[in-house]
Symmetry: C2
């Protein structure tokens, strides 16, 4: 045991030296202590284009802050998609150590483990605030770290889109029947739920959606919310804009190569963790603000904001339960993460409904 | 101009030296740059008892984080109320430089400037999320800094309680008439609104509320929410627990003596600003979680959770408008801050109602 402890301590020292992250406190004979640190650089890639609004610029803000907080000793270089690695290769690249980390969304990696989709949230489940609470106080973050550690990754919450809109439709949806056979661009769990409602979910690259919608090759598309949707121009060809339930608060991620993160000194680790917390909430608030501004502009352009009929929402609830049951059978990890989510949801929902939910109705 | 720039630069250097916050980047001939900082200690007082749940422990978390992020070069010593100064003397003490900063709530200082109450929020106005958005993207924080600068103070948002509960009542409120002549412990703008609804608002020290409620000296009291209310025991003597509208998301503050803050080096300033952002959201989420847990416990004790009748809420809306009109006449600052709030509310509310508000109803 002692030998093992010694070896561990030696390894830690070696790792600290390797990372160039040594730090010493010199108690001067006169005057206060002085701390010194060496400079470390981390390369992270995102799944977004350069300076992508809110998500991309939020990560750039993170990098600026980290530089300031560390007195220039911790430099995060942010690379947009396709510069170092393709948009959806960031997980593997960080896992293998080709890059030090990435900014993306955990639902993109459900092919690796179906449970990963849950860390982004669940259709008709917890909203942004409740998901943070589950992560911090309900065991969600511990599960996420545990499952990502298998891939040599160390995740942080990296922002939240808030409630995403249900999508743009060429024609209004007046009943559940109107969804049957509809071709809609909608990925992820939302797409699986929609498929059970009769929709034909289509995957299309971002650059092809507008034309497909304009030509009627597809009948509908979801994207994110007013702030990011407006520049896509969907409102020109599919003016029925439906409120959302399929992504009620999608958690984004700022994830690091675990071995690389572990080698950072405590000070740099703390700077990353706290700045990530600030970025996480900052992105959520910026989405709220930018969505509000874009909604106003869209309404001036004459779009029709609609709610899905209640029959659609109720059918979607049943479909979510089916998808969850199926995935839980196929994956023990999914079952375990969902159980943690479901237990916390039972706790947090009554309070959120009674406080925020009721207040938004009566004010 | 050049002379002025030179003097400003000299003053900045002098200030940096005075604060013991010098920092130098040494570009080594080999290997990475090294940064050094000297140690600074800040004393901040709170308006709360020692280790007060969420609000007090949240500030302690802030101090721990700041120490970690700064590699032990920035030490924040947190003093609970009445150790350095009385709970409500913290504003003057920080303004005058007897302490370096404080954690409290801006509505406590409305006697100094009625506009300060607005930085905590407005009855039936913006909720926690919307208030952060107003501060960050709607000009609220700039106004707050400007008005506090007159007192040599530099504020940060320092947490948020979320929607506070309407209070504990000995008897149910079935109509507006049931409020007439009711003696209720309720301070601030909420009290002023309640007074216009016929309530007799009473101010009582925390330690005397339970006995007054038990003996019927008062008929009702508001406090905060389940998490902090449960330990006060109000549920034993006033079991009707009403949902809230009078404090829909009270902003707390972490405020520093401005001259002291200005003397910090950029690195320490950034550490404080970013850690305050993280603390601000952390406290809100911890309130959500702890309120949810306490609500469950309270319901097991057999309390009656009720909503005020709609006539009460509608009368309260009119009363808020009256209070705002009156205060705007008396104070140009109040008028200006309220105008900024009202303009942003018009922008953010439609989106929040359409996304979070609608989603919480249909899920």
């Amino acid at each position: 045991m002692k030998r093992r402890a010694f070896l561990a301590a030696t390894a830690a020292t070696a790792a600290a030296t390797m990372s160039g992250c040594t730090r010493e406190m010199i108690e001067g004979k006169k005057g206060p202590a002085v701390s010194r640190r060496k400079k470390v650089t981390l390369k992270i890639a995102t799944s977004w284009p350069a300076h992508f609004p809110i998500m991309g610029t939020g990560v750039e803000w993170f990098a600026q802050e980290v530089k300031k907080l560390s007195g220039g000793t911790l430099i995060v270089k942010v690379y947009p998609k396709n510069i170092l690695v393709p948009a959806l290769a960031v997980f593997d690249a960080a896992s293998g150590g080709q890059i030090d980390g990435f900014h993306s969304g955990p639902y993109y990696w459900k092919g690796k483990n179906p449970a990963f989709a849950l860390f982004s949230g669940l259709p008709l489940g917890m909203n942004a605030t409740e998901l943070v609470c589950w992560m911090e106080y309900g065991g969600g973050y511990m599960l996420w770290r545990e499952l990502y550690a298998r891939y040599n990754l160390y995740p942080f919450m990296g922002g939240n889109t808030g409630v995403q809109m249900g999508g743009w439709f060429r024609k209004p949806i007046k009943s559940l029947a109107d969804l049957k056979g509809l071709k809609m661009r909608i990925p992820g769990l939302g797409g699986e739920v929609m498929a059970r409602l009769g929709v034909n979910p289509i995957l299309l690259p971002a650059g092809e959606i507008y034309t497909a919608l304009e030509r009627g090759t597809i009948d509908a598309t979801e994207w994110v919310g007013p702030a990011l949707d407006i520049s896509m121009g969907f409102y020109k060809v599919a003016p029925y804009y439906y409120t959302g339930w399929h992504e009620p608060g999608s958690v984004l991620e700022l994830t690091f190569n675990k071995a690389r993160f572990d080698r950072l000194c405590e000070e740099h680790k703390a700077i990353i963790a706290t700045t990530a917390k600030a970025m996480n909430t900052r992105m959520y608030h910026e989405f709220m603000d930018q969505n509000a501004r874009a909604l106003k502009q869209l309404q001036q352009k004459g779009i029709h904001v609609r709610h899905f009929p209640q029959t659609v929402t109720e059918a979607a609830k049943k479909a979510v339960a089916e998808v969850v049951a199926e995935q839980s059978k196929q994956s023990a990890d999914f079952k375990r993460v969902y159980a943690s989510m479901a237990e916390y949801y039972k706790l947090i929902r009554p309070w959120d409904d009674l406080s925020e939910g009721h207040y938004l109705q009566i004010r």
